[in-house]
């Protein structure tokens, strides 16, 4: 299923009172569950699925994270910071500037870790929790997909 269709599906479901949704065909299986405790989408497909760190679920707004059916990262000691949009990943605010973060950097909540640009919309990605950068998963200026992990981090 295309990300676009998945998005439409999630939107449709979050607009209703449906709390569980399952769909399966030859290539993929989609499970969407909603509730105050667990709010997530499972998306198992032949293509590599996007990975996201669990986010704090708010009971008011429908919150959605994409998690793989079979986790690609075996050690759950680490979490990832993911791209909320499709675009280009930049490690620096401008080509001459220093990178926002490096491996080993400790970042505070709300601190910018990178930029993702799509169609001249610049999105400064901020850390949603205090963490240490373990690995930078993308090259500077590389294209990134929606939900794709950008950094492997250790929550502090």
């Amino acid at each position: 299923m295309e990300i676009k269709d998945l998005r439409t599906l999630v939107k449709m479901i979050t607009d209703t009172d449906i709390t569980e949704f399952e769909m399966e065909n030859a290539e993929e299986k989609i499970v969407i569950k909603r509730g105050p405790e667990k709010e997530y989408v499972q998306f198992a497909a032949a293509a590599p699925a996007a990975i996201a760190a669990p986010t704090a679920a708010s009971s008011a707004a429908p919150s959605v994270t994409v998690t793989p059916a079979e986790p690609a990262v075996a050690d759950d000691k680490y979490e990832t910071i993911n791209s909320p949009i499709v675009g280009s990943f930049y490690r620096k605010p401008s080509p001459e500037a220093d990178p926002f973060v490096d491996i080993g950097s400790v970042v505070e909540v709300g601190q910018a870790v990178c930029l993702v640009e799509a169609m001249k919309m610049f999105n400064e990605i901020e850390a949603e929790f205090k963490c240490k950068i373990i690995e930078i998963l993308k090259e500077d200026a590389a294209p990134v997909e929606f939900g794709e992990p950008l950094f492997k981090v250790e929550r502090l």
Binding site: K4, P62, I85, G87, S88, M119, K120
Partner: protein, 327 residues
């Protein structure tokens, strides 16, 4: 509803009066203030550059407004639902985008417009500067808080490009064109540059800032020698200066209307309008994507706003970030 400032009320009285005369008594009643206080407001407006004549037994007449950007003048009688709910005009600033982002971080409501007479570090892509001399152009940033997913926010890029083209048409009659994603061209030369910023969490947009720079009355000698893309201004294209105030008001109204359409109907109306303003579809283009150069024929917009380019091998490339120029 916020009560408008006395200045704003007086200016809108002038704009609503067909014969141009507004009596002191009328202003006094409208504002609930004394005739002396009215006289003081008129004096302040004159000091701000408004040419107001007082004709005995007929009242005040606004002969000419100065072409300065002031909140009262921008907001008076503005037909907007959201945009311009608050207008902040600065003489000089680093970048209106930075200022608008600061307002956004501080929880300011959507619709805020930040305008500066000049910018010391107007922003372009890839750390480039947007040339921002004083008194001639428009440098504005608009704060929005749409209830959409971050994934969909880049589509707003096309909204401001269409709005700028429409404002150019209504204030000069000139037909501007768009270049992906949101450059605005007049006769193939860049007349406006738009750059947007977003603050978002995984599943919600905190705010979006639409940054808009339009070359209105910039003269040839004010352009830097080395420009990446040939540039022009409305005054150069038209042969005479345009009113910054009228242009700004017209632009805000166009953005407001398109933003309402976007919230109600999604990106389709905006994309449709954008495609009609783009004359590069079907033509050969070169797209500079950082280290990668894509050459091919522009096939149009994908449903999320990505640029579709068909290369010589027949492959369809989707571009999310890059500089496009005719090949």
């Amino acid at each position: 509803m916020k009560k408008p400032a006395p200045r704003e009320t007086i200016l809108s009285l002038f704009s609503q009066t067909p014969n141009g005369f507004v009596s002191g008594a009328q202003i006094s009643t409208e504002l609930g203030i004394s005739r002396t206080a009215v006289w003081k407001h008129i004096r302040n407006l004159r000091q701000a550059g408004y040419n107001i004549e007082a004709i005995p037994s007929r009242g005040y007449q606004l002969i000419q407004s100065p072409d300065i950007l002031m909140p009262e003048a921008i907001q008076a009688g503005l037909e907007c639902r959201v945009i311009g709910s608050r207008v902040c005009c600065l003489d000089a600033t680093d970048s209106t985008n930075l200022q608008a982002c600061r307002f956004g971080d501080d929880g300011e409501a959507e619709g805020l417009v930040v305008v500066a007479d000049q910018q010391s570090s107007g922003k372009g892509r890839m750390g480039r500067r947007w040339e921002s001399p004083a008194e001639v152009n428009l440098y504005a940033s608009i704060l929005l808080r749409p209830a959409i997913l971050p994934f969909d926010a880049p589509q707003l890029t096309f909204l401001s490009a269409v709005a700028v083209c429409r404002a150019i048409m209504s204030s000069t009659g000139l037909q501007a064109r768009v270049k992906w994603p949101n450059d605005v061209l007049l006769n193939g030369r860049k007349v406006a540059g738009l750059l947007n910023e977003m603050s978002a969490e995984t599943d919600r947009v905190n705010y979006v800032v639409l940054g808009i720079g339009v070359n209105l009355n910039m003269r040839k000698d004010q352009f830097p020698e080395a420009l990446r893309y040939p540039a022009t201004s409305l005054a150069i294209a038209k042969g005479h200066p345009v009113s910054r105030l009228d242009f700004t008001r017209s632009l805000l109204q166009e953005i407001d209307a398109l933003y309402q359409a976007f919230l109600e109907q999604g990106s389709e109306p905006v994309f449709e309008a954008w495609q009609q303003l783009c004359d590069m579809t079907g033509k050969a283009v070169r797209v500079d994507c950082n280290d990668l150069l894509i050459e091919g024929v522009m096939a149009g917009l994908a449903d999320d706003g990505a640029l579709l380019v068909r290369t010589a091998t027949g492959k369809m490339e989707r571009v999310y970030a890059g500089d496009v120029r005719p090949a």
